[in-house]
């Protein structure tokens, strides 16, 4: 009998945090998981759920975490008006699972996103307005979602911030942007040796599609390049981790090990074969693109390509003048202003 009582108490303790709690308010913070095909993905919803409007982050990587977007500035300037959903994708952040490598691919991740949206609607009501905010790799994932069946009917607006919808095109635009800036900066005598090295590498690349190795090296030059401009504030990843790790219950080792795994997973090669150019015209949902002036990882021309291809009558393109690849931090004031304007117009 004693053992039985102990097991009952233990089960109650372990399951207490799995009890469904849905809070409708102006300053909410709640976490739930969405399970699909071998992955349990953590979703943190913060802010104003009473607004019936949710901004859903589709983070980069693959293998990064949505928690890094949860800065004080976004809390104070977006979460006060709307709810923000920070979704950790499969094999990323605090998401958990066993052997799930076979499901780590774009079609399954697209299905994950569909299910996350269905759960958001289940929790906060079918009348809730949902906006996708895609960053970096989130661009190709959200494009896959937006161009599949009638998925776009589930959302009110598509925000693309420094994101890529087409990797081979991305490589081409990165190479062009680096070459142009390298010539300009060398002529001005700025960071001569660094820009010369970048220029030499760009010139050494073959025309046409790059290999994954070449693309990764180009990406690493693109990452460095934005640091050569004084206008661009470096992204203080470590400061954000220090400030929020405990406050937001980061799963630090999980995030790090998921990222290490994802960087070398088969999905990296798989992503290079997708081209949604033919399907983009079916997107009629309002679109907002925000790209950093000095973003070489996902150059602003990618945003123009999306705006040109979609059939939506409501497209808005903005350049974040002091940003590299992390516009939501590097130009946080302008970023929040444009996002809020867009949501307010189409919610």
């Amino acid at each position: 009998m004693k053992h039985f009582t102990f097991i009952i108490i233990l089960s109650a303790v372990l399951c207490s945090c799995q009890k469904e709690q849905i809070e409708i308010g102006t300053d909410v913070s709640e976490t739930f998981y969405v399970e699909n095909q071998g992955a349990s993905m953590r979703v943190l919803v913060e802010g104003n759920t009473a607004s019936k409007t949710i901004l859903l982050f589709v983070h980069g990587g693959p293998g990064s975490s949505a928690y890094f977007y949860n800065t004080d500035y976004i809390s104070n300037h977006i979460e006060d008006k709307y709810a923000v959903a920070y979704w950790d994708q499969r094999n990323a952040g605090a998401s958990q699972g066993n052997n799930n490598a076979d499901n780590f691919n774009l079609p399954t991740m697209t299905e994950d996103l569909e299910k996350v949206i269905q759960v958001l609607r289940y929790r906060y009501g079918n009348d809730v307005s949902i906006f996708l905010l895609a960053h970096s790799f989130g661009g190709i994932l959200s494009t896959s979602f937006m161009t599949k069946n009638n998925n776009q009917d589930l959302i009110n607006g598509w925000i693309i911030c420094s994101a890529s919808h087409h990797y081979p095109l991305n490589d081409e635009l990165t190479r062009d942007a680096l070459t142009n800036y390298a010539n300009q900066e060398i002529a001005s005598g700025n960071h001569l040796s660094q820009w010369q090295e970048i220029l030499n590498y760009c010139n050494s690349l073959p025309s046409g599609m790059l290999t994954l190795e070449q693309a990764n090296k180009l990406n690493s030059y693109a990452t460095d390049a934005e640091t050569y401009f004084s206008e661009v504030e470096p992204f203080p990843m470590m400061d954000i981790i220090k400030a929020n790790a405990i406050k937001q219950s980061y799963a630090i080792t999980s995030t790090f090990l998921n990222l290490k795994y994802s960087q070398n997973a088969d999905i990296q090669e798989e992503l290079r074969k997708y081209d949604f150019s033919d399907q983009l015209p079916m997107v009629s949902t309002p679109v907002l693109t925000l790209y950093g002036q000095y973003d070489f990882i996902c150059p602003p021309a990618l945003g123009n390509d999306i705006s040109d291809m979609v059939s939506s009558d409501e497209t808005f393109d903005y350049i974040l003048p002091n940003s590299g690849h992390i516009g939501m931090y590097q130009d946080q004031e302008l970023f929040c202003l444009r996002v809020n304007e867009f949501i307010e117009q189409f919610k």
Partner: protein, 211 residues
């Protein structure tokens, strides 16, 4: 002819067997700020008592213990998971004559996590349901190093206190591994009659005083 001296020492070894009681451990099992508990039993199965007599007649004692240990651990990482795990392994403990000890313990185990939030599933028709007891099973390897003080050595009290850093490795976790450091702050109780176990003790006397 060089002036090297060749040293030799007189050693004696004696082996005894006796029924010894097992120890009971209880610890706070923290992972940074995330709380937890750990309880376990240690069964001493081998002991080496080493007495060294130095050249000037000064004596030094130390003993090394090998214990079989089995533990039940738990930690709570809010919004991430609760982890309940059992382990079994060896503890290699080395005590000095004052009661200070260090230890190293490799262990194998099984972990069951419980996700830190309501878990939803969506079926093909778009119907949403809640999954009860959502979580995962993992194999677990734990390596720990610890430092403690054994009051039974110098003060004849049947308790010891210790702190220990463990590195838990769970797998397969998202097709890779999950590593979690934990810190134990605990107490070991050494009752006289609890799960008595046949243990071998090797008494080694190393004498350099007569050289």
């Amino acid at each position: 002819m060089s002036g090297h001296l060749v040293f030799a020492q007189q050693d004696s070894v004696r082996v005894t067997e006796e029924n010894v009681s097992s120890n009971i451990k209880l610890a706070y099992n923290s992972s940074i700020v995330y709380p937890g508990l750990k309880a376990g039993i240690e069964l001493p199965f081998r002991k080496r008592i080493i007495n060294k007599t130095k050249k000037l007649g000064k004596e030094r004692h130390l003993f090394k213990e090998r214990l079989f240990s089995t533990n039940l651990g738990w930690y709570h990482h809010s919004t991430f998971h609760n982890n309940l795990y059992i382990t079994a392994g060896f503890t290699m403990r080395r005590n000095n004559q004052k009661g200070l000890f260090t230890e190293f313990s490799p262990e194998l185990g099984y972990s069951r996590t419980f996700l830190g939030g309501t878990t939803y599933q969506v079926n093909e028709n778009g119907n949403v349901s809640i999954k009860k007891m959502a979580g995962y099973n993992y194999a677990l390897v734990s390596l720990g190093v610890g430092l403690g003080y054994d009051f039974s050595v110098s003060k004849s009290k049947p308790i010891a206190i210790y702190s220990k850093i463990n590195m838990l490795t769970m797998f397969p976790y998202n097709s890779t591994i999950y590593i979690r450091p934990t810190v134990e702050l605990g107490i070991i109780y050494k009752p006289k009659n609890f799960l008595k176990f046949n243990s071998k003790t090797k008494h080694i006397h190393k004498d350099k005083s007569q050289l």
